[in-house]
């Protein structure tokens, strides 16, 4: 199994994500991620983006999610890292009900 370059670059990834969260606050509460393989075996990075309730409102959601994807993609060279990025989103109040540790 060939691991992607990203495995050795997690400090850089973490730093860029921290910066994206800072830039997009208060819409973004935090971003978590895992690196693994997608359904077809391609190495991927799976982002879990926790949004404020205000950002999750229907009239804001698409704008905010596009900003998140755009900013992260600007800062991280996914092709160079050998990863396909995938994004999932959840609001704070949804997480408060669902209480999933992976999103905390």
């Amino acid at each position: 199994m060939n691991f992607p370059a990203a495995i050795a670059k997690q400090p850089q990834i973490n730093a860029e994500i921290t910066e994206v969260v800072r830039l997009l606050a208060p819409d973004i509460v935090h971003i978590r991620y895992d690196i693994g393989q997608d359904w077809s075996g391609d190495w991927s990075i799976f982002f879990r983006v926790l949004l404020s309730d205000e950002a999750s409102r229907e009239n804001n959601l698409r704008r905010v999610t596009k900003q998140v994807v755009g900013k992260i993609s600007e800062r991280l060279d996914f092709s160079g890292l050998g990863l396909i990025p995938y994004f999932n989103f959840r609001s704070q109040s949804e997480q408060a009900e669902m209480r999933e540790p992976a999103w905390a």
Binding site: W39, L61, Y86, F89, M98
Partner: protein
């Protein structure tokens, strides 16, 4: 209304089937249906060019999800590398990859809990891809993309 549009509309209905406390079954079916809406939009467009109408459904079954993902990945990487392709095609390709992975998760990963926010975003990915595709579907780049969805590699010209 074309089948693909019916599927997209149905995905939206499933996402909002319950006003509060949406059932995971509804959300997961919404995600899966949103992917198949885009899948059918593309393959129906592709097979519509086949002259023998009764053979189109047979042709439609030859599309391979993995191959389609690979072609979409090529488009996304080409655009990132500066290729002269319409931005709309990049939206279609990028969103197709996202939707396909979401669909696999929704259909097979019972541990994954979907939120309505997540599903609304998935529906937006599909809607954006529909709009982008319809804006460029007659352009050469879009026609070449459809052909590539059939063929793993175009012959050199």
């Amino acid at each position: 209304m074309p089948f693909a549009d019916d599927l997209l509309e149905q995905a939206d209905e499933l996402a909002f089937k319950e006003q509060t406390n949406p059932k995971q079954a509804s959300l997961r079916r919404a995600v899966s249906t949103a992917y198949y809406a885009l899948f059918h939009l593309l393959i129906d467009d592709a097979v519509s060019k086949w002259a023998v109408e009764r053979q189109r459904s047979i042709l439609a079954r030859t599309f391979d999800h993995g191959r389609m993902k690979g072609i979409c990945d090529d488009v996304v990487k080409a655009v990132k590398g500066g290729a002269n392709l319409p931005q709309e095609l990049n939206i279609v390709a990028h969103n197709f990859i996202q939707l396909q992975q979401h669909r696999l998760t929704a259909d097979y990963d019972n541990a994954k809990q979907w939120s309505r926010t997540d599903v609304v975003n998935v529906l937006a990915l599909a809607t954006d891809a529909f709009n982008a595709w319809r804006a460029i579907r007659t352009e050469d780049a879009a026609q070449d993309y459809l052909l590539q969805l059939f063929l793993p590699r175009l012959p050199r010209q």
